[in-house]
C-alpha cells in the first residue's frame, strides 16, 4: 500500500532493497542529522574523498611515468582500475561471452547454412537478412546467396544460434564490433565465412579494412 495514499500507516524511516545482489538503503530527508542538513560540510566531505582518489591516482601516474621512461611500464603500480581499451583488454572476459557471429563451413568452404530463415525469424532485432538461392548440387538444394548481419542492430541474444537447425551460425567471444561507418557494420556472407581462429588470435579483422583511429 502506498503510504502517501494511506496516511494512517507510519512512514518508514528508511527503505532497504536488494538490487543486483546488493543491499541498498534509501533514507528519507526527515531522518538526516542536523550536521547533514547543513549540506555544505557534507559536500566538502564528498569532494575530499574524490579529490584524495584523484591526487593518489595522479601521484601513481607520475610514478608510472618514471617506470615508463625506464621502459618498465608493466611493473609500475596501478592506481585506478580503469582498463585502457583498446590498448588494453580485460583478461577476465568470460569464455561464454556472446560476440561477433560466424557462419560455419562445409569441408569445401561453402556455408553450412541452408537458408531456412530460422535465425532471421527468431531474431528480435530483425538484423539478419537472407536471400536464398538454388544450389547447383541437388543434395544441398538451398543455400544463402546473401547473408547479411547488421551488427550495429544486433543485441547479441544468441537466439539465432539456438534457432539454427544445422549449426550454421555461431556467436564467437570476439566483441570488437565498433566502427566509424555504419556501412562497414553490415557483415556480409563472405566476411562471416572468413572466420579463422588462428587469425583472430593474432589480429582483429574488420570488414572493409581497419577502422580509422581517433
Amino acid at each position: 500500500m502506498n503510504p502517501l495514499l494511506n496516511p494512517k500507516l507510519p512512514e518508514p524511516a528508511y527503505k532497504e532493497e536488494f538490487t543486483a545482489g546488493r543491499l541498498f538503503t534509501y533514507r528519507n530527508p526527515s531522518d538526516l542529522t542536523l550536521w547533514e542538513r547543513l549540506y555544505v560540510p557534507e559536500v566538502l566531505r564528498g569532494l575530499s574523498i574524490t579529490g584524495s582518489i584523484f591526487f593518489k591516482n595522479m601521484g601513481l601516474w607520475l610514478v608510472w611515468l618514471g617506470y615508463w621512461a625506464r621502459g618498465r611500464a608493466n611493473e609500475a603500480p596501478r592506481g585506478a582500475v580503469t582498463v585502457y581499451y583498446p590498448e588494453e583488454e580485460r583478461p577476465d572476459m568470460t569464455k561464454v561471452n556472446r560476440g561477433k557471429h560466424i557462419l560455419t563451413q562445409r569441408l569445401n568452404g561453402e556455408p553450412q547454412c541452408v537458408a531456412c530463415y530460422m535465425c532471421a525469424t527468431a531474431c528480435p532485432a530483425w538484423c539478419i537478412h537472407i536471400d536464398a538461392g538454388e544450389h547447383p548440387d541437388p543434395a544441398i538444394e538451398k543455400y544463402p546467396v546473401r547473408f547479411d548481419i547488421e551488427i550495429d542492430k544486433c543485441i547479441f541474444c544468441g537466439y539465432c544460434e539456438e534457432a539454427c537447425p544445422v549449426d550454421a551460425i555461431r556467436l564467437t567471444t570476439d566483441y570488437h564490433t565498433v566502427d566509424y561507418l555504419r556501412e562497414r557494420m553490415v557483415y556480409d556472407r563472405d566476411y562471416l565465412l572468413s572466420w579463422n581462429p588462428t587469425k583472430v588470435q593474432q589480429e582483429h579483422v574488420y570488414p572493409g579494412g581497419e577502422p580509422r583511429r581517433g
Binding site: A115, G133, P138, E141, K142
Partner: protein, 539 residues
C-alpha cells in the same frame, strides 16, 4: 423448385442439420469440429486414400473415413475419441516413415498440413531404424512446377485436379507401395494453364512453384484480399506481400466466381505492377512546362477542363476498363453531370494474355468493362454522343478540342498503332492522361497524372457475370501518387460539381460494392509453428 432434403445427425454431442448427401467431414466443419484430412479437397472428387479423416460412427462395423461417408438421419458421430486419436497418430506415423523432414529447405513449411498435423496429432520421434526410401527429387514437371518425390504423401490431389478440373490428364501415380510416384504421363510435362493450382492443393511440399521457390518464408507474408485483373472473370485472389512487394498470388474461394482455382497468367499478374510505370506527373502546357508537383498538375487538369466546359460537345472522355466501380462512378458524374459532355466511352486497356477457355479464362483481358459501363460511362445517345470509334474519328477530323484518356492501351484501338495515335492526338488541342502505365498517350499528352495500380487502391470490380468483388489495397503507391477517387473528387470540387465522397467506403454504398471483411490486424511477426501461418481458412 423442389425443397432441398435435409438430414439431422449428432456430431460430438451436437445436433447438425445439413442437406442430404453432405459428407460427415463437411458436416463436422459446420460445428467447428475440425477433422484432419490430406486427400480430401472440397473442389475435387473424394478419394479417401489418406485415412486421416477417420471418425467413429455408432453402429458402423469399423471407423469409416468421414470424407466418403454421407450423413444420414440419426447418425451419431464422434470425432475426438481415444480410438480416433490413436488411428490419427498411427496414420501420421506411417506418412512420416519415408518423409525426409527437410522442412528447413521446404517452401511449404509454415503452411504445410503434414507439419501442422504432426504437431496436433503425433508429436513423437520416428521409430524407423532403416534408411528411408529415396525417390527422385527436383523433377521438373514443367517450367512452373518442381516435384520432390520424397516429400510426396501420394494423396493424389494433383492427379484428380488434372483429371477433373483441367481435364488434361497429365499426372498419374506409377508403381506401387513405397516405390509409388507421381509422374507426368508419357514423360512429357504439364501443359495446362492452371498448373500452379497443383502446388496450392499439395498438402505437403512435394509440388512447388518455380516462381515462389526460395523467395520468401510464408510466415513473413501479409495477406490482402484482392482480385485478379487479368481477365473479365475477376478471380478473387489473395495477394501475399511483404516489404511493399507482392510475392505471390493465391486464389481465394468464391463459389460463384472462380471456385478454388485461378490460372497461371493470374499468378504472374503482380509482375506487371512495376513495369512501365508513370511515376511523376508531366505537364506540357504553355507557361507550365517542366517538372510539376502533383498539386500543380491537378491544377493544370482543372484549368484544361474548365476551358473545355464552355464547349461540352468538343470534349470527349475515354474511361479505363481497369478502373474500379467507384472511380467509374465519379468519372461518369464528373464528365456526364458536371462537364455535360455526351462523348464518353470505355476502352480496352490490355489485350495481352491467354485466349479464352472453358475453365475460367475469358476473352476480355480487362477486369471491369461491365462495371464501368454499369456506372454510366456510356455515350449519351440523346445528345448524339459518340462511342470510342466515333470519338477517335472526331479527333482525326479535328472536331474534339479536349480529350481525356484514363488508362493505357488507346493505341491498341487504332490500326496504325503508336504512329497513328500521334497523328490523331496532334489534331486535339488538349490531351489529358490519367493512368498507372507510361503509355504512348502519357508521352503525347499535355497533362499526364500518375495513378496507382489495382493492388495499390481499394475498389470493387464487376466481372463478366455481373458479380461484384472488392479488392483491398495491399501495397503503398509510389510516393506522391494519388488514387483516381481522390483525383476525380478533387477535380469535381475544383469545377464546382456535386460532392459524392472521397473514399472507397463512402462511395461503396453508391456502387453496391461488397465491403471486405475486416481481417484481424496481423501480429507484428507470426512465426507460428502450431497454427496455419497464413491465417486463411484452408480447404
Amino acid at each position: 423448385m423442389s425443397e432441398i432434403k435435409t438430414v439431422t445427425l449428432t456430431i460430438d454431442g451436437r445436433q447438425v442439420t445439413v442437406p442430404a448427401g453432405t459428407s460427415v467431414l463437411e458436416a463436422s466443419k459446420v460445428i467447428g469440429a475440425e477433422v484432419p484430412h490430406f486427400c480430401y479437397h472440397p473442389g475435387l472428387p473424394v478419394d479417401g486414400n489418406c485415412r486421416m479423416c477417420i471418425v467413429e460412427i455408432d453402429g458402423a462395423r469399423r471407423p469409416p473415413v468421414s470424407c466418403a461417408t454421407s450423413c444420414a438421419d440419426g447418425m451419431v458421430v464422434r470425432t475426438d475419441t481415444a480410438a480416433v486419436k490413436a488411428i490419427r497418430a498411427s496414420v501420421m506415423e506411417f506418412l512420416l516413415v519415408n518423409h525426409p523432414i527437410d522442412c528447413p529447405i521446404c517452401d511449404k513449411a509454415g503452411e504445410c498440413m503434414l507439419q501442422d498435423y504432426y504437431m496436433q496429432h503425433d508429436r513423437k520421434r520416428s521409430e524407423l531404424r532403416d534408411e528411408k526410401v529415396h525417390k527422385p527429387r527436383l523433377v521438373k514437371f514443367s517450367d512452373r512446377i518442381v516435384f520432390n518425390g520424397e516429400r510426396c504423401i501420394l494423396c493424389t490431389r494433383c492427379v484428380r485436379f488434372t483429371e477433373n478440373v483441367t481435364r488434361t490428364h497429365e499426372l498419374g501415380i506409377v508403381n506401387r507401395g513405397d516405390r509409388a510416384l507421381v509422374e507426368v504421363a508419357g514423360g512429357g510435362s504439364l501443359h495446362n494453364r492452371y498448373q500452379d493450382n497443383v502446388a496450392d492443393i499439395c498438402p505437403v511440399g512435394a509440388l512447388t512453384k518455380t516462381d515462389f521457390r526460395f523467395k520468401k518464408r510464408v510466415w513473413f507474408l501479409k495477406h490482402t484480399d484482392s482480385i485478379c485483373p487479368g481477365c473479365s472473370r475477376g478471380c478473387n485472389v489473395v495477394l501475399d506481400h511483404d516489404k511493399n512487394e507482392v510475392v505471390r498470388v493465391m486464389p481465394r474461394f468464391r463459389a460463384e466466381v472462380n471456385g478454388h482455382w485461378m490460372c497461371d497468367e493470374g499468378r504472374d499478374i503482380h509482375k506487371r505492377i512495376g513495369v512501365d510505370r508513370l511515376l511523376a506527373p508531366r505537364v506540357k502546357l504553355p507557361g507550365r512546362e517542366g517538372g510539376a508537383t502533383p498539386e500543380e498538375a491537378l491544377e493544370a487538369v482543372a484549368e484544361v477542363l474548365g476551358e473545355a466546359r464552355k464547349t461540352p460537345d468538343r470534349l470527349a472522355a475515354i474511361a479505363s476498363s481497369w478502373g474500379t466501380n467507384e472511380e467509374a462512378f465519379l468519372f461518369a458524374k464528373l464528365f456526364g453531370e458536371t462537364l455535360r459532355t455526351p462523348h464518353m466511352d470505355v476502352k480496352s486497356d490490355s489485350d495481352e494474355g491467354y485466349p479464352e477457355d472453358d475453365v475460367l479464362h475469358t476473352a476480355d483481358h480487362n477486369p471491369n468493362r461491365a462495371g464501368v459501363v454499369a456506372q454510366g460511362v456510356v455515350p449519351n445517345d440523346k445528345k448524339g454522343g459518340l462511342g470510342l470509334a466515333g470519338i477517335l474519328d472526331a479527333c482525326r477530323r479535328g472536331d474534339i478540342q479536349c480529350l481525356v484518356v484514363w488508362g493505357p492501351g488507346l493505341s491498341g484501338h487504332l490500326p496504325g498503332g503508336e504512329s497513328e495515335l500521334a497523328l490523331v492526338l496532334s489534331k486535339v488541342a488538349r490531351v489529358v492522361y490519367l493512368g498507372w502505365k507510361d503509355d504512348p498517350v502519357a508521352r503525347l499528352a499535355h497533362v499526364a497524372l500518375p495513378t496507382p495500380a489495382w493492388a495499390e487502391k481499394d475498389g470493387s470490380y464487376t466481372n463478366c457475370d455481373g458479380i461484384k468483388s472488392t479488392s483491398v489495397r495491399a501495397l503503398d503507391p509510389p510516393p506522391g501518387v494519388r488514387g483516381e477517387i481522390e483525383v476525380l473528387a478533387d477535380l469535381q470540387a475544383r469545377l464546382k460539381g456535386r460532392s459524392y465522397g472521397r473514399t472507397f467506403r463512402e462511395l461503396a454504398a453508391k456502387t453496391g460494392a461488397p465491403l471486405p471483411p475486416r481481417r484481424p490486424a496481423p501480429a507484428l511477426r507470426q512465426p507460428s509453428l502450431y497454427r496455419h501461418a497464413s491465417g486463411v481458412a484452408r480447404p
